[in-house]
C-alpha cells in the first residue's frame, strides 16, 4: 500500500519523477553522505500500525490508562489551572487553517496576523499597558525574559525575587539568568505577602507574583513599586490575567513590566501542554527595544481605511540579527494567544469580573470550610486569596493517598506536611463540600 501520508511513494509516480530529473534512484541524491555515516540497517522501531482503526485502538488503550480530572475531582493547580474552556475556544483553535498555518507573510496569513494582533490588544486592555508581545513559550520563560529585559534596560545584574514562587519556576529562572544575573530572594511574611526588603543601586528589578505561589494577592505593590523606582530599579510582576477582572492591573500599581502565563484563558490542562507566556510594557522605545519576541502592529495599506499588519521593530530580534539580537526568537505559542483572545472576547469585561468574583468567593469558602476540619490548618488566612491557598495537613502523602481512593486529587504537595489547594469556577459548592467531607472522613 502506498502510505496515505506519502503520495509520491507510489512506485509509478516515483519512477516518473526520477526519470524527469534524470537519475536512476533516490540513492543518487544521497551521494554526499559518506558510507561511514550511513545507518546500514533499518531503524529499530515498533512495527508500524498502518490502519487508522488499529492506531486508534492502540492509542485508546494507552489513553485508557489515564484517569483525568473529569473523572476524578481535582483541586490541583500550582501553575496549571482547571478553568472552564469555552467550546468556541476549542472550535477556533481546531480550525485547520489556524492549526496548520505557520510563519506566513501578512498577505497569505492576514487572518493569523489580525487574530494575534487582537489577542495582544485585548491583553493590553486587561493589563492597561500599550505593548504586549506575540506569546512566548510559557510563564516561566516570560518571567525569565522580563527579568533579563529589566537587567538590560537598567544595565544592572541583581534581581530581587519573591520567595512566594514555585520551585520549578525558580529552577528555570536560575538556569536562564545564569551566568550573569544574580537572584536574591525576598522572604514571605505570615500573611503570605512579601516581607520588607531594601533595594540598592545594583538592583535591576524587584519581582513579585500576583497572585503568588500561595494564592495570596500582594496588597503592598504600589508601595514596593515606589521603593524600587526610588533606586532606579524596575518592578516586574508576573500576573495571572484571569484574576484581572477583579484585581487592579499591576501597571496601575506601578509595575514596569508585567508578565505571566495565559493557560488560564481558554487552554486545557493537557498534562502541562497548555502554557504560553506574555510580556507587557508601556510604549517606551527603550523598553520596547528589549523585547526578544515578535510584536505585531497595524500598518496602512494602499487602500485608505484598510488595516494591514506587520512586525514592529523587527531589527532587535535574532531572526534579523542572529547573536546580536535580543535573546532568541523562534516558534513559541501563537495558537494559545489566538485562543486567549477568543476567550477574552467571549468573556468581555463583565464575564471577567463575574468569574473573578466567583473564584474569590469560592476560594474563601473552601478555606473556611477546610480550616474548620480538625488537624487542618490554613496558611496565611488573613491574606487576600485568589484561587489557591496552602494548608498544613500533617502527613501530606498519607492524606493524598487516602483521598485518591475517593477519586479526589486533593492538592499539589508543597512539602511533607503542606498541600496547595486550588478552587476555580469549575468547582461548585458541592465539590468543595465533597472535599471537606472526604477530608473529615479520612482523618476521622
Amino acid at each position: 500500500m502506498t502510505h496515505p501520508y506519502i503520495p509520491n511513494a507510489e512506485p509509478a509516480v516515483r519512477a516518473e519523477m526520477l526519470a524527469a530529473i534524470g537519475v536512476e534512484s533516490v540513492e543518487d541524491f544521497y551521494a554526499d553522505i559518506p558510507a561511514a555515516l550511513r545507518l546500514n540497517r533499518p531503524l529499530d522501531l515498533p512495527a508500524p500500525i498502518t490502519s487508522e482503526h488499529e492506531l486508534v485502538r492502540h492509542m485508546g488503550a494507552l489513553l485508557g490508562r489515564n484517569t483525568d480530572t473529569t473523572e476524578a475531582l481535582s483541586f490541583l493547580g500550582g501553575g496549571c489551572y482547571p478553568h472552564h474552556v469555552p467550546a468556541v475556544c476549542d472550535e477556533v483553535n481546531s480550525r485547520g487553517e489556524f492549526l496548520t498555518a505557520y510563519a506566513g507573510e501578512p498577505y497569505e496569513d492576514h487572518g493569523r496576523f489580525q487574530a494575534i494582533f487582537e489577542y495582544v490588544s485585548m491583553m493590553a486592555e486587561l493589563l492597561e499597558m500599550d505593548v504586549v508581545n506575540v506569546p512566548t513559550y510559557d510563564g516561566f520563560q516570560a518571567s525569565g525574559t522580563a527579568l533579563r529585559m529589566a537587567a538590560r534596560y537598567t544595565g544592572r545584574r541583581t534581581v530581587l525575587v519573591t520567595a512566594a514562587i514555585g520551585a520549578d519556576k525558580l529552577s528555570k529562572l536560575h538556569d536562564f539568568l545564569a551566568p550573569d544575573i544574580e537572584i536574591t530572594m525576598i522572604p514571605v511574611t505570615e500573611t503570605g505577602e512579601a516581607a520588607a526588603f531594601t533595594v540598592d543601586d545594583t538592583v535591576a528589578a524587584v519581582y513579585l507574583e500576583y497572585p503568588n505561589a500561595y494564592g495570596v494577592v500582594e496588597t503592598r505593590m504600589a508601595e514596593i513599586a515606589e521603593l524600587a523606582h526610588a533606586r532606579g530599579a524596575l518592578l516586574v510582576v508576573s500576573a495571572d490575567p484571569i484574576a484581572l477582572g477583579v484585581l487592579a492591573p499591576p501597571a496601575t500599581l506601578g509595575a514596569d513590566i508585567v508578565c505571566g502565563d495565559i493557560q488560564s484563558l481558554g487552554m486545557h490542562q493537557s498534562y502541562g501542554g497548555g502554557h504560553a507566556g506574555y510580556i507587557a510594557t508601556r510604549d517606551e522605545p527603550r523598553l520596547v527595544a528589549e523585547f526578544p519576541s515578535r510584536l505585531f502592529g497595524i500598518a496602512p495599506t494602499a487602500v485608505p481605511g484598510e488595516y494591514g499588519f506587520g512586525d514592529v521593530f523587527y531589527d532587535r530580534t535574532s531572526f534579523a540579527l542572529r547573536e546580536e539580537g535580543k535573546e532568541w526568537v523562534g516558534t513559541a505559542a501563537s495558537l494559545w494567544g489566538i485562543t486567549a483572545g477568543v476567550y477574552l472576547a467571549l468573556m468581555g469585561p463583565e464575564g471577567m469580573r463575574e468569574l473573578g468574583e466567583t473564584v474569590l468567593a469560592r476560594t474563601r469558602y473552601a478555606m473556611d470550610e477546610l480550616g474548620a476540619v480538625p488537624g487542618v490548618r490554613v496558611l496565611h488566612p488573613e491574606g487576600v486569596h485568589f484561587r489557591e491557598f496552602a494548608v498544613e495537613v500533617g502527613d501530606a502523602d498519607a492524606l493524598l493517598t487516602a483521598l485518591r481512593a475517593h477519586d479526589i486529587f486533593a492538592g499539589v504537595r508543597l512539602d511533607a506536611g503542606t498541600l496547595l489547594v486550588c478552587v476555580t469556577e469549575r468547582h461548585s459548592k458541592d465539590d468543595i463540600d465533597t472535599l471537606v467531607r472526604a477530608v473529615r472522613e479520612v482523618r476521622g
Binding site: L45, T50, L63, T70, V132, Q269, A332, A345, V412
Partner: protein, 492 residues
C-alpha cells in the same frame, strides 16, 4: 471578508458566555488591589465572536488548504487529523500534570516510548522532550554543555561556541545568551561551512560546535565527521541542530557522525501542526556522558510502572513547566507509530525526491538559480539574482505576488547571503501535481516580472488586503503594537 478589528464589533452589555455564580458569600477586595475601571474588552454575543474568528481563519493559509512547499526550513507537512483526536480526548486534555503517577500511566508510557524511539532515530542515549520548541531545545543543549564543562572545571575556560551562517539563527543567539562568544563559519566555495575556518577557530576556549546538516541551503556537509573530530580534539562538544532531519531519517544519524547532542523539532520532521507559530515541541538528545545534565524530571520505567525521577543533582533543572508540550508528544508518537522504520525511510526518500524534482522544475525557469550546484537533500535556497538584474523585481515582490495564487513563499533569514533568495522545501506530503503547480506559479510570476515588472511590484491583487506600507512599524511615534496604542496615536 472585510473583517473589522474586534473592538469595532463591540456593543455595550452583550455577552459571549455565561459564568457560574459563586453560590457562596461574596468576598470584598481591599481598595488597594481592587480593579477600578473595567477592562475595555469587546462585548459581543457568542455567534459574533465565533463568526469573526472563523472569517479570520479563512484568511489564513494553513497546510490543510494550500500547497505549503513555499516555507523552506519549516518542513510543512501533513499533520494527520486522527492524531488531533487523541489530543482533544479528555484523557489527555483534562490531565493535570501534578496528578498521582498511577492516574497518568498512559501518558507517561507515551513519553517513555517516544523517548526510546527518538533515541533510536538519533542513535544517542537519552532524549528530553521538555523543550518547548527547536530553539528552546538549542538553548537546553547549550545549558547542558555549559553544565558539563562546569562539572569538569572548564566552565570559565571554554567561553566560545562555533556555529555556521547557514545554521538557524537561534544557534548563535542562544549561545550568546548563555554567555558564550559566538564564532560563525562562512560557507566555502562549495557551499559547505569552511573547514579551514573551523581549524583556525577551535582551541582550548571551544565549548561546542552548534551545526545544522544539511544546512538551510539543503546541502549536506560530507565532511561533518571531520568537523566533529576537530572539536572533540580540543575537548569541545558537538551539537547537531536536526531541525531539518526530514531528509535523512533512517539514512544517517547524529551518533554515526559522532555528535554528543542533537535536537529535533517535533513540529517539523515529526508532523505536529505548526499552530500559527506554536506551541511547538523540541527534543534534546544526548550521549551517555551528558545524561546527568538532562532537564528533570525524567520518565522512567521499572518494568511494571512508569514514574518520574526528579532526583537528579546535576540536572540543569526545569526548562519549562512540567514535562513538555504533551499534545505534540502524543501526536508525534502516533505519527511514528503509523509509519514505522520503513515508513520513516520512505518519508526521507520521498522528501528528497520531491525536493530534487521541484529543483529540476524551478531551475527550468529563466532567472532562477541555485548557488553551489545541484546537490540537495530536503530543501533548496534558490536565488532570483538574474531575474532581479534583468527586471528590478525583488524576491520579496515575487513572494507577495505568489500570495495572489494562494501559496506561501519565503525568502530566508537575514542576512541575505544568497542574493534575492527564496527557500522551498516540499517535504513528502505533496504530490507531483502539487509541485508542478507550484513551479508553474513561479514561472508565471517570473514571466510577469519580465513583461510588466511594475505589475508584480504592485501586488497583491487577490489578497484580503492591498500592499502594506510598513514604514510606521519602525517608527516609535507611529508604531501601534496594540489597538490601545493605535487608538492613542492615530485615532485620538
Amino acid at each position: 471578508w472585510d473583517e473589522p478589528i474586534i473592538f469595532e464589533l463591540s456593543s455595550p452589555g452583550r455577552r459571549g458566555i455565561g459564568v457560574p455564580e459563586a453560590g457562596v458569600p461574596a468576598v470584598e477586595l481591599p481598595a488597594a488591589v481592587r480593579r477600578q475601571a473595567p477592562p475595555a474588552l469587546p462585548e459581543m454575543s457568542q455567534l459574533h465572536v465565533l463568526r469573526h474568528y472563523v472569517r479570520l481563519s479563512q484568511e489564513t493559509l494553513g497546510v490543510d488548504v494550500n500547497i505549503a512547499v513555499g516555507q523552506g526550513t519549516c518542513t510543512m507537512k501533513y499533520s494527520p487529523k486522527v492524531n488531533d483526536r487523541f489530543v482533544s480526548d479528555t484523557r489527555i486534555a483534562e490531565l493535570h500534570p501534578a496528578q498521582p503517577e498511577d492516574s497518568v500511566q498512559g501518558v507517561l508510557e507515551i513519553y517513555w516510548r517516544m523517548e526510546r524511539m527518538l533515541a533510536e532515530i538519533s542513535g544517542l542515549h537519552r532524549v528530553s522532550l521538555q523543550p518547548n520548541s527547536g530553539s528552546a531545545a538549542i538553548y537546553t543543549n547549550i545549558a547542558m554543555i555549559r553544565a558539563y564543562h562546569a562539572s569538569r572545571g572548564e566552565g570559565e575556560q571554554r567561553d566560545q561556541v562555533i556555529t555556521t551562517m547557514f545554521s538557524h539563527p537561534s544557534n548563535a543567539a542562544c549561545a550568546k545568551l548563555a554567555g558564550y562568544e559566538v564564532i560563525t563559519l562562512m560557507p566555502d566555495a562549495e557551499g559547505h561551512p569552511d573547514i579551514e575556518a573551523l581549524r583556525a577557530a577551535v582551541g582550548p576556549r571551544t565549548a561546542a560546535l552548534m551545526i545544522t546538516n544539511p544546512e538551510d541551503t539543503g546541502i549536506y556537509n560530507p565532511r561533518i565527521a571531520e568537523f566533529v573530530e576537530l572539536v572533540h580534539g580540543v575537548g569541545g562538544l558537538a551539537c547537531y541542530d536536526q531541525a531539518n532531519a526530514n531528509g535523512i531519517l533512517g539514512i544517517t544519524r547524529a551518533a554515526e557522525a559522532g555528535f554528543d547532542l542533537c535536537h529535533f523539532n517535533l513540529h517539523k520532521t515529526f508532523s505536529t501542526p505548526h499552530m500559527c507559530g506554536g506551541p511547538a515541541a523540541g527534543a534534546s538528545g544526548v550521549a551517555e556522558k551528558l545524561v546527568p545534565f538532562l532537564p528533570g524530571p525524567t520518565v522512567e520505567f521499572d518494568g511494571e510502572r512508569y514514574f518520574l525521577d526528579a532526583d537528579r543533582p546535576q540536572s540543569i533543572g526545569k526548562v519549562r513547566p512540567y514535562l513538555g508540550v504533551t499534545q505534540n508528544v502524543v501526536r508525534a508518537y502516533a505519527w511514528i507509530m503509523a509509519l514505522g522504520a520503513e515508513g520513516l525511510r520512505q518519508v526521507a526518500e520521498t522528501a528528497v525526491l520531491n525536493n530534487n524534482y521541484l529543483q529540476h522544475k524551478i531551475l527550468q525557469i529563466r532567472g532562477a538559480s541555485a548557488p553551489w550546484g545541484r546537490r540537495r537533500l530536503e530543501q533548496v535556497r534558490y536565488s532570483w539574482e538574474e531575474l532581479y538584474e534583468e527586471t528590478g523585481v525583488h524576491s520579496e515582490d515575487i513572494g507577495v505576488r505568489a500570495a495572489d495564487f494562494g501559496v506561501h513563499y519565503w525568502t530566508s533569514h537575514h542576512p541575505y547571503l544568497v542574493p534575492e533568495p527564496f527557500t522551498l522545501e516540499p517535504t513528502e506530503s505533496y504530490s507531483k501535481e502539487d509541485l508542478d503547480e507550484y513551479a508553474a506559479i513561479l514561472a508565471h510570476v517570473a514571466e510577469e516580472a519580465r513583461t510588466d515588472p511594475e505589475f508584480v511590484k504592485g501586488a497583491p491583487y487577490n489578497s484580503t488586503v492591498h500592499k502594506i506600507d510598513p514604514t510606521c512599524l519602525d517608527d516609535p511615534e507611529q508604531w501601534a503594537p496594540t489597538w490601545r496604542a493605535y487608538v492613542r496615536k492615530h485615532l485620538s
